[in-house]
């Protein structure tokens, strides 16, 4: 094996061995307090999110009620217009739907 290749292999081994030289890091004495704080924030966020979901659901419900009322009103007025139109044509031509069926 030539010299540069030996050097490379030695470098690789030295780099790989650093994995075992890493010292253990000790924990933070205030970690438990921080976790408690994090959990409290999480609960507050969750409550806030639930509130937002309910508000959105209520807004969608109101919108649906509005749309269905508008559609119902539109259909009712179209039906009334149609009936009025038929009556107007019948009277213009001197027809009476009830009478004509009697013949």
């Amino acid at each position: 094996m030539d010299k540069p290749r030996q050097d490379i292999e030695a470098e690789i081994e030295r780099t790989l061995s650093t994995a075992e030289d890493i010292e253990r890091v000790s924990g933070n004495p205030f970690l438990y307090t921080r976790i408690q704080e994090r959990m409290r924030q999480g609960e507050a966020r969750s409550t806030h999110r639930k509130g937002a979901v309910w508000s959105l659901a209520f807004a969608i419900l109101l919108l649906l009620i509005n749309i269905s009322s508008a559609v119902a009103y539109y259909q009712k007025s179209v039906r009334a217009d149609q009936a009025a139109g038929i009556e107007a044509i019948a009277s213009e031509y001197g027809l009476d739907a009830q009478e004509s069926w009697e013949y």
């Binding site: 994995a19 030289d21 924990g27 921080r34 959990m39």
Partner: protein, 191 residues
């Protein structure tokens, strides 16, 4: 408090139980997190997330594995979750760098801050981490748990829910891949 008593305390929501769990396992969890993310602040944030997850899911623990295996498993899964999240972000950053919006750089290269690494080893350890980043999730996990955490093959197998021979194979391939990428790196340096 033994494992069974601690588990009972945790499942009844005892404050003392939570505190005991944190005291017992925070160092192990922190060092696992540092194995995946060698940036102290990130690892500490992740440690907090791991314990929050442990407290939230304690009722699902059926005692099929030991408490320590379960803690390690939750920590590893949380780290892998974070890793996937970061990778998605990196892909976005890569595309942004393609259109010239942002510089694309390795997270380890730019933020390395591992308090367990001595100054004389810093450069070399940073290089090792950069190459560990390229391993597959399973090889990386096996390498971190065995080589960095010093766990036995059996313990790694229990945590990863694989056989001991799978762990041996993962470690062998991890070492081969690390050697290969490091060789490529040093050859380029010599030119």
């Amino acid at each position: 408090m033994n494992d069974q008593n601690l588990l009972t305390a945790l499942q009844t929501g005892s404050e003392q139980g939570y505190k005991e769990l944190v005291d017992l396992y925070q160092e192990k969890v922190l060092n696992i997190c540092l194995g995946y993310f060698p940036v102290y602040q990130d690892a500490e944030d992740l440690t907090q997330e791991v314990f929050v997850k442990l407290f939230e899911t304690i009722d699902n623990f059926r005692g099929e594995a030991s408490l320590s295996t379960w803690v390690y498993r939750v920590a590893v899964n949380k780290c892998l979750e974070k890793l996937r999240y970061r990778k998605r972000g990196k892909r976005m950053a890569f595309f942004q760098s393609l259109i010239g919006l942002e510089e694309h750089a390795s997270h380890v290269a730019s933020n390395f801050d591992h308090p367990g690494v001595t100054l004389e080893n810093k450069e070399r350890t940073q290089l090792l981490y950069q190459h560990i980043e390229r391993l597959s999730e399973k090889q990386r996990t096996a390498f971190i748990l065995h080589r960095m955490e010093g766990l036995s093959y059996q313990e790694v197998a229990n945590i990863m829910e694989v056989t001991v021979s799978s762990v041996e194979s993962l470690l062998f391939r991890a070492k081969q891949n690390l050697k290969k990428t490091l060789r490529h790196y040093y050859e380029k340096q010599m030119i």
